[in-house]
């Protein structure tokens, strides 16, 4: 028997209804003779016979709905069929003996239309055999159509259960070509819609907010210059930050660069920061990557932009009871000082000369690691209790060491704390990373001889170093801030 399956009568139509049979079972039909009119969602379509022969069975009566690629009629198996010879130049049509139920759309790969409306194709050569494990897109067979020899790729990976035909056989478009073994929970493609073509389907889950992320506003790179001025500066080896711009918003024109050159400002040889590392001039030097590279860029930016002033002092922590959590006390002191003197809990945009003060304290904590410097941020630290802060600090330490800290927790600090004294060092000049305007450093605790009621006494003191950006804050504000830090640190509890 040769089964004729209902072809797709439109563009991805799932089924069609039998409107009227033009023949009856037992009739002998000619190729292209109209068999049946079928009603689709779009129109009534006449379905012609794919070949000549005797029709022995209808798979439905008027009003029945036939699914696309399911059997419509069956021809008598006429043993090589003379009619087919006329149609297919002597080549035998392959048996498409799939019973309707055997055609599970996931297991059986039907011959697609290899051109535009080609009725069939002849198997030229199989590239695979039954039992083979194959990959998606691996060529299954080369098929000869009326137009050309076409390689037919596999629609998915899997093991081949059956090949429907041998070299020289003709397969009708839409009839089974290859059957795959469906293993237990084999990945069964979801319904991708009745569609023209193929849509990529995956179960990958996107973890991303609908609105994306809000990038931090950075004061910018920065230096405004017309492109021609940049090129000239680059060619002349001039660092544009040393050129005074005379254009709108302080932008640098070609004339500005030329004037600078005339002043003998040429060839200072500071390469303009290019994100792609220029070839290192030190033989064998490895370009920095990742966090360490970011640190280098940020520090250079800070050095170019910020006007830093560092103030040093000590806090007398003699009154502290034994076992006081040093880090928590320092954090508490910073929060207290931010309330007393808000000017240092701020961001500054140097390009616009604009300053923003914050109500909440988002405290950046400088954490050292082999990879480089990390500054995770405790958001709104003023509203966390001591336990929560300790837990966060501990978590940051672990996450920094095993590189699992989420990107979101590494930005948005309004003020920064560097507790470098764990290792060594009394005072420092900590570096501010724009847009924030202050960083407090705590050095190594030490015993110090201090006057107590007119006599020398030995107290434990904590050395403090605060750097502030003098563009954004005054010396008065900074010293009041530091005084508040000390006041809070010197309390017993």
């Amino acid at each position: 028997m040769k089964t004729f399956n209902l072809p797709d009568l439109g563009e991805g139509l799932p089924d069609a209804e039998i409107n009227e049979w033009h023949i009856k079972e037992g009739d002998i039909v000619e190729a292209d003779q109209l068999l049946v009119s079928m009603e689709t969602a779009k129109a009534v379509v006449e379905v012609p016979a794919p070949r000549s022969g005797k029709v022995v069975k209808f798979y439905g009566k008027t009003g029945d709905i036939i699914k696309t690629h399911m059997p419509l009629i069956e021809f008598e198996d006429d043993d090589g069929s003379q009619a087919m010879e006329a149609h297919h130049e002597g080549k035998t049509a392959a048996t498409t003996a799939a019973t309707p139920m055997a055609i599970s759309s996931n297991a059986v790969f039907l011959l697609p239309d290899l051109g535009e409306g080609l009725p069939d194709a002849e198997i030229n050569e199989w590239h695979v055999k039954e039992g083979d494990e194959i990959e998606a897109d691996q060529p299954l067979a080369s098929m000869e159509t009326a137009k050309a020899v076409v390689e037919v790729p596999s629609p998915h990976s899997g093991k081949i259960a059956k090949l429907y035909g041998k070299a020289g056989d003709v397969i009708i478009t839409g009839s089974p070509l290859v059957e795959f073994v469906v293993t237990g929970g084999a990945p069964v493609a979801e319904d991708a819609g009745t569609v023209v073509g193929n849509i990529e389907v995956s179960n990958e889950v996107l973890r991303e907010s609908a609105t994306g992320i809000k990038p931090m506003k950075v004061s910018g790179n920065k230096i405004k210059a017309v492109p021609a001025a940049r090129i000239l500066a680059k060619k002349s080896g001039i660092d544009l930050s040393t050129v005074t711009g005379s254009g709108p918003h302080g932008s640098i024109s070609v004339d500005d660069v030329k004037k600078h050159l005339g002043q003998g400002g040429a060839a200072v040889n500071i390469p303009v920061a290019s994100p792609v590392a220029t070839r290192p001039s030190i033989p064998g030097a490895e370009p920095l990557r990742g966090v360490r590279r970011t640190m280098a860029i940020m520090m250079s930016q800070s050095h170019r932009e910020v006007v830093p002033v560092t103030i040093l002092d000590d806090a007398d922590i003699y009154a502290w009871p034994k076992g006081t959590d040093i880090t928590l006390r320092i954090i508490r002191a910073v929060v207290f000082a931010c309330k007393e003197e808000p000017a240092l809990n701020a961001w500054y945009d140097g390009a616009a000369n604009a300053r923003k003060l914050f109500d909440e304290v988002n405290l950046g904590l400088a954490v050292d690691s082999k990879e480089g410097l990390f500054v995770p941020v405790i958001n709104d630290v003023a509203n966390l209790d001591a336990k929560e802060i300790r837990a966060t600090v501990n978590r940051f330490k672990t996450q920094v060491q095993d590189r699992t800290i989420p990107q979101e927790e590494l930005r948005g600090n309004t003020i920064t704390l560097s507790n470098f004294g764990v290792f060594a060092g009394r005072y420092a000049n900590p570096i501010i990373v724009p847009p924030s305007v202050a960083i407090l450093g705590c050095g190594r605790l030490r015993e110090e001889v201090v006057p107590e009621k007119g006599k020398p006494a030995i107290h434990r003191v904590m050395p403090l170093s605060i750097t502030f950006d003098h563009r954004a804050a005054t010396g008065g504000e900074a010293t009041r801030f530091l005084a508040a830090v000390i006041t809070d640190l010197q309390k017993e509890n």
Binding site: L13, A41, A192, V196, L206, I213, V272, V276, G290, I297
Partner: protein, 325 residues
């Protein structure tokens, strides 16, 4: 909460808004009984019935025409064009009537319509099913052109499009209809129709794209991040009106920009973005703006379509050239 695909997010948004607003009606070719060729309207007919979800004849001029009429008289029609390549018979209705309704009637009538169409290539379909002609519509005053690139944005932007009092072209990148899934709460929350979305934050270069090209662009951005670079990726999302503020702010920071689009190069949305950058961001540029686009030719048949659609390799090369400039 089950994670859903972009096309399911479209269905979810339609169902939500039809439940919330009886004036919303949905129609198009094969969208009711069949649920749409891509299943975007699956289940809506069963839920809301013949009056609100119905199949139209194969006549795009008619689809666009009745949309304009319904919208002008108080309904909120959401019309589907089966493929963007079939939209041109309705072009006259959209351009000459929908887009101008408010202006022509001096504000007495508006046209709160949504014209939905799957667009773009990459699904092995014939060429007139695969083109990206968003620029044709972005060029027309009075039309918004919206292109989502994730399930969550498809949901939020489609709700906003239906609620907007003026006509919106809602173009769905069919190549990524089912490419990823995402948790999309069915809470009726719309997204703004004039805002670009920053998907990756970085300092070295800005990649600007929209629609299905988000896929390759993010892949390249992630590769480069692994190589130590810091890449910002912006999903334009609303091709009209363009949120140039977000793009210019990013370029003020990075100084470098590559625009990636599937559409042909000439007179495209990418051209418009590049022109805006030249007008308003010139002093911030450290390198010329590059465009990675489809070619100025008819979309090829599927054997060649991935030679046409910008590949990760083409994007990466453009990014490296821009960085090394």
């Amino acid at each position: 909460m089950p994670e859903i695909t972009l096309v399911e997010a479209v269905t979810q948004a339609l169902a939500y808004e039809m439940g919330a607003d009886n004036n919303v009606v949905v129609f198009g070719e094969d969208i009711a009984l069949n649920g749409g060729v891509f299943r975007a309207t699956d289940g809506l007919h069963a839920k809301f019935g013949d009056d609100r979800v119905f199949d139209t004849p194969l006549a795009e001029n008619l689809i666009a025409g009745i949309t304009v009429g319904m919208a002008a008289q108080g309904l909120k029609p959401v019309a589907e064009f089966q493929f963007m390549g079939f939209i041109y018979p309705g072009f006259n209705q959209i351009v000459c009537h929908a887009a101008r309704m408010r202006n022509r009637t001096r504000g007495r009538l508006s046209c709160p319509a949504v014209f939905r169409a799957p667009y773009g290539g990459g699904i092995r379909a014939p060429e007139h099913h695969s083109e990206s002609t968003e620029a044709l519509f972005a060029h027309i005053p009075g039309l918004r052109v919206v292109i989502p690139s994730s399930p969550a944005r498809a949901y939020g932007l489609l709700l906003a499009a239906i609620r907007d009092p003026d006509p919106v072209m809602f173009l769905e990148p069919k190549r990524i209809y089912r490419h990823v899934k995402q948790d999309v709460p069915d809470n009726g929350e719309a997204l703004p129709l004039d805002t670009a979305f920053v998907l990756r934050e970085g300092n070295d270069i800005t990649l600007v794209t929209w629609g299905a090209m988000i896929k390759e662009t993010l892949a390249v951005a992630d590769q480069l991040t692994n190589e130590g670079l810091s890449v910002e990726v912006i999903d334009v999302a609303t091709v009209k009106p363009l949120d140039m503020d977000t793009i210019l702010q990013s370029i003020a920071k990075t100084g470098r920009c590559v625009i990636i689009q599937e559409a042909v190069k000439t007179c495209s949305v990418g051209s418009e973005i590049a022109a805006n950058i030249a007008e308003k961001g010139l002093f911030d540029l450290h390198a010329p703006v590059k465009r990675v686009t489809g070619f100025d030719t008819t979309m090829p048949y599927f054997k060649l379509e991935y030679d046409y659609i910008p590949s990760e390799a083409r994007i990466k090369q453009a990014v490296m050239e821009t960085l090394e400039y």
